[in-house]
Amino acid sequence: MSTNDGYYIPEPSKWPIIASLTLFVTVFGAVNTIHGTSIGMPILMIGLISVLAMMYGWFSTVVAESPSYNGQVDVSFRMGMMWFILSEVMFFAAFFGALFYARVLVMPWLGGAGNNAMTHEVLWPAFEAVWPVLANPDNAKFVAPKEAMGAWGLPAINTLLLLTSSVTLTIAHHALRKGERSKLNLWMIVTLVLGVSFLVLQVMEYVHAYGEMGLTLASGIYGSTFFMLTGFHGFHVTIGGIMIAVMLVRCLKGHFTADNHFAFEAAAWYWHFVDVVWLGLFIFVYIL
């Protein structure tokens, strides 16, 4: 309900509690899948599908209500999205932190640096501290990859793709603000194609890694950090891609106006965020 002087308070809604329930079902399904129980996968699938359905329902409500939102609600949404992106940044920070800790501290320690001379001498005499790790301290338990992932093949192309997609998205945004519909739609399509190509190439890289290179999640700390960082990034690109796709559809339907398109901007921020994370990855995971 809105109040006299412009406060807007939404009606009670069934979506939040449905959202909580679907999250729970998903998580419950995930644990059971990991534990290999037969109900795991079906529950996980039900969970994921119901999460998507819930988002569709919730967002549809919001879209339908949005004409009655006022400027304050718009600012709330914007701030909310920005702080959410900050929390995502911190999530990646944890994994980058693990990467730096492993490379800068753990490797030398296992190799006998600092106060760990005896660690090396007594426990891992054969270990050599080099990054990327091509021989783990215990190579029987964690089989190291045959070679490290290079930076200048697919990853470099991917960097170009993603950077370009940020530019095309910005072009689309400018078009939206000027009210140039067809230009907007065109550049949104280009952005989406670039994003999808990124993901396709990423999958190809993974296939190559798991196949010829022998680089897997289980190849020791190098594989662990590599796949967790690039994997979570890929996951975020997927989410961002879905957002872009939804925005494309909404653009085609003419939902946005030149000065009222918060959802579009939120998706764009998210996409730029994913892009920046990739730059970090490209530098610290691939190049260095």
Binding site: N115, N116, T119, L123, P137
Partner: protein
């Protein structure tokens, strides 16, 4: 610092005697090493600084609670800012902290100094739930478990049973150190993180699997010193004490010689043929020390967590499978460790024999050290 310290000591005695506290087991132990005494003094110093600040702050609070209550007709003043006092009570605590940090840093640097000049080096390895002491330069090592006398009375309903046996603080094999010699400890672990702690030495260091931490001590006084594992390490974390016996140089040498002899004897016992009774007797001791923690003294295990030995398919079935799981550990559950790396052939033979015949598992088998040797490949 010692001047400062003495002032505080005198001050403190005015309130209540610190020694009294120590005697009543209310204060940190001063310990026996130079470092532990330094730590104790630092502790006392900082404690008393806090007590004094506390007395001041609480004094003011209590005074205003008493004097500025409405019921006594107090009318509220209306100041709510004062730059001078605010700066003061930011700067003064800061200076006090610097005063604490300097002696603290000094002590810390001493504790963390390298110990390359140590005369004895002992590698300490934590296991769930016992310690292994490896006298690296003497060439022998042994396990140290909670003493059986302690174990027997854990569940006893009669508190008297627990008296006079150093309840939970006694072990079967003590670590032995020479008096007055610098000793270097290398700590590591075989499974989860443990922490080796003797309060009287002020040595506490985590034993971390895959890494080796160092600590050192020089104990100036002959005696027996006790401590406990200080990092949660699973079910029996509360039952893995540490006992160090510090001996005179001559006694220490005799002990080392004896241990070396025992290592030889153990090697010999691996090559002899044992009778069923001998195996059962030895097996029971090994079982109680190493296996009962999980599988239970009566072989009942913990349902859903640790399998029972009583009627176990493996302990009553194929011997090869039994040898395999005890020597190589479980493939699926790391809690069942590879005991092949921890025990001699004779110990393994005995404990397996015991498991196959105790708790009503009357298979009649008598496993010989030679069988174990063969199974080790």
């Amino acid at each position: 610092m010692s001047v400062l310290l003495r002032t505080f000591k005198v001050l403190s005695l005015m309130f209540v005697s610190t020694e009294l506290f120590a005697a009543a087991q209310m204060d940190l132990t001063p310990g026996v090493t130079a470092i532990s005494q330094e730590v104790y003094e630092l502790h006392t110093l900082i404690l008393w600084i806090c007590v004094i600040i506390g007395a001041g702050v609480f004094g003011v609070i209590f005074y205003s609670m008493f004097a500025h209550r409405k019921s006594k007709g107090a009318v509220a003043a209306n100041f709510h800012d004062n730059m001078t006092v605010e700066v003061l009570w930011t700067v003064i605590p800061f200076l006090i902290l610097i005063g604490m940090a300097i002696p603290a840093a000094k002590t810390l640097i001493k504790m963390e100094s390298p110990a390359d000049d140590a005369e004895v080096t002992i590698k300490i390895t934590g296991y769930q739930w016992k310690w292994n002491y490896d006298y690296m330069h003497e060439g022998f090592s042994f396990f140290s478990n909670l003493a059986q006398s302690n174990r027997d009375v854990i569940n006893s309903k009669n508190p008297k049973d627990r008296e006079g046996i150093n309840y939970l603080l006694d072990v079967d094999n003590r670590m032995v150190l020479p008096v007055g010699k610098k000793v270097r400890f290398l700590m590591t672990s075989n499974d989860v993180i443990h922490s080796w702690w003797i309060p009287a030495f002020a040595v506490k260091k985590d034993a971390i699997p895959g890494y080796i931490n160092e600590a050192h001590t020089t104990v100036p006084k002959v005696g027996v010193y006790r401590g406990q594992c200080a990092e949660l390490c699973g079910k029996d974390h509360g039952f893995m004490p540490i006992v160090v016996e510090v001996k005179s140089e001559a006694d220490y040498a005799a002990w080392v010689a004896e241990k070396k002899g025992a290592a030889m004897a153990a090697a010999a016992s691996d090559s002899k043929v044992w009778s069923q009774d001998e195996l059962m007797a030895k097996g029971e001791a090994v079982y109680n020390a190493s296996c009962a923690a999980c599988h239970g003294p009566t072989g009942d295990g913990v349902p859903g967590v640790f399998p029972a030995m009583k009627g176990s398919a493996i302990a009553t079935g194929n011997l090869a499978a039994h040898l395999d799981i005890v020597i190589n550990g479980s493939k699926v559950n790391p809690a069942m460790a590879a005991y092949g790396a921890q025990m001699s052939d004779a110990d393994l033979a005995a404990v397996i024999t015991y498991e196959r015949n105790a708790f009503g598992n009357n298979t009649g088998d008598a496993v010989q050290p030679a069988d174990v040797k063969a199974a080790r490949k």
